[in-house]
Subunit: 231 residues, 2 copies
DNA sequence: AGAGCCTTATGATAATTATCACTATCTAAT
DNA sequence: ATTAGATAGTGATAATTATCATAAGGCTCT
């Protein structure tokens, strides 16, 4: 067993406002009564592509990647989820099995609801379902648009984009520890590991970033933005 | 005015079963009472990126493309919608404006519901909302996965994939008229027009397909499938 | 019919990216 | 500590794709 199961009291849980604004106190109790939290350490697999979907998961703490393996051992990273994102988001209402694998990139805590309870609630409370639908379509829209953005850049622009993505969107700081390997960057932007490494080295030589292993410091952000936009 | 507005009787409309299986006859009447159909000729723009979202649209007849223009004049095609697909699908519940443009590739008929009526219905009928959510997440999943598939192929594989996509998924025949130009194929698969043309010529020279302008005949389908899969 | 514009087409060349080969560094496990 | 295996890093070369140039064919508009 690789997770702990402390019950948390939803009355004081900030997640309540984010997810269940149209759920009454009574309903909330039903939902939270069956809620558990699971914590995963960096690198642990949370869900496997193809696993049956039994739970409804959302991020409480940490960072995870959603990925899909294509044939042999080539993985593609689809997106990253941070606190308050749904994890089993994409297929949870339209598929019997998970379409993606989910892996912890940092020590992460996931809140787990029984999917059937959520589904039942969704069938009787339309406002709840509406909220859910809005959040799902926002999240999938973001994935689709992020993909479009990456695809129209070339190597340097893509690498620059990823650095800015972590700096601006995930960490909100210009100095951070990369939560993923060079290979995973490559899997996210659709380039080879070698070229990702080469590009990072080039940014370093051009004094755009400083690199200490996985620690990145963005020195010249406007330059990086310009590369991201124009190549 | 570039559309006709014949009311149609929903009692006998096959769309009823597809979209509104959890809506009562009375509710159906409310919805259909405000329904109109719009027809567009090949090439006509149905929606513009950035337009405010007032309607809820779905395909009754024809074929459309969803696209996004990135800066200058470079377009990216996101997906194609055929009958019974939602058109204003992606952003309709999560954005005030359309995130994509929609253009008719063939003469097309679109059913138009007032978005507020649909939203009101969604807020009071949870089963209806559930149905909608399932359909939305199915459709967006399909877009995301199709993108992943395309991105891991190279030029020849991508072109082969597109041909098979139209043959298998859109027309269900091995002989069909391409609904899009070579340039649009390029915008869909993220390659240049010249290389798309070159690749098609190469397939023709290798007796994999026959080309008469926009008319395509797939001669050696297993070969095309092999190229799509392995390059 | 002819002018202008877009699409299709093909070739030559340049740019970009992948592959292969080899080291170095780091991490986990004994 | 020491080895094994993954990750990071660099260079040379090959493969892939883009760019530029140029031309033929279609289409629309007058």
């Amino acid at each position: 067993m690789n997770y702990k199961t402390p019950k948390c009291s939803c009355e004081q849980c900030q997640l309540k406002n984010l997810f269940f604004s149209h759920v009454s106190e009574d309903e909330l109790f039903d939902i939270c009564d069956i809620k558990e939290e699971r914590t995963y350490t960096k690198g642990q697999r949370i869900l496997n592509e193809g696993d049956p979907i039994d739970d409804f998961l959302y991020m409480k703490e940490g960072l995870v990647k959603l990925s899909k393996s294509s044939g042999e051992q080539k993985d593609q990273i689809i997106s990253f989820s941070k606190p308050f994102d749904f994890v089993s988001l994409l297929s949870v209402f339209s598929s019997k099995v998970h379409m993606y694998s989910v892996t912890a990139l940092e020590d992460s805590t996931v809140c787990v609801l029984d999917l059937n309870v959520v589904k039942n609630k969704a069938q009787e409370n339309a406002m709840f379902t509406m909220d859910m639908m809005v959040r799902i379509s926002e999240a999938t829209d973001k994935i689709i648009i992020e993909n479009l953005i990456i695809r129209r850049k070339q190597l340097k622009g893509r690498v620059a984009h990823v650095l800015l993505y972590f700096a601006n969107y995930i960490y909100e700081r210009d100095e951070f520890e990369l939560p993923i390997s060079r290979r995973e960057i490559a899997e996210y932007i659709g380039m080879t590991t070698e070229n990702v490494i080469r590009t990072l080295s080039e940014f370093r030589k051009d004094n755009i970033i400083k690199i200490f292993g996985k620690d990145i410091l963005i020195v010249d952000k406007s330059r990086l933005e310009s590369i991201s936009e124009f190549g």
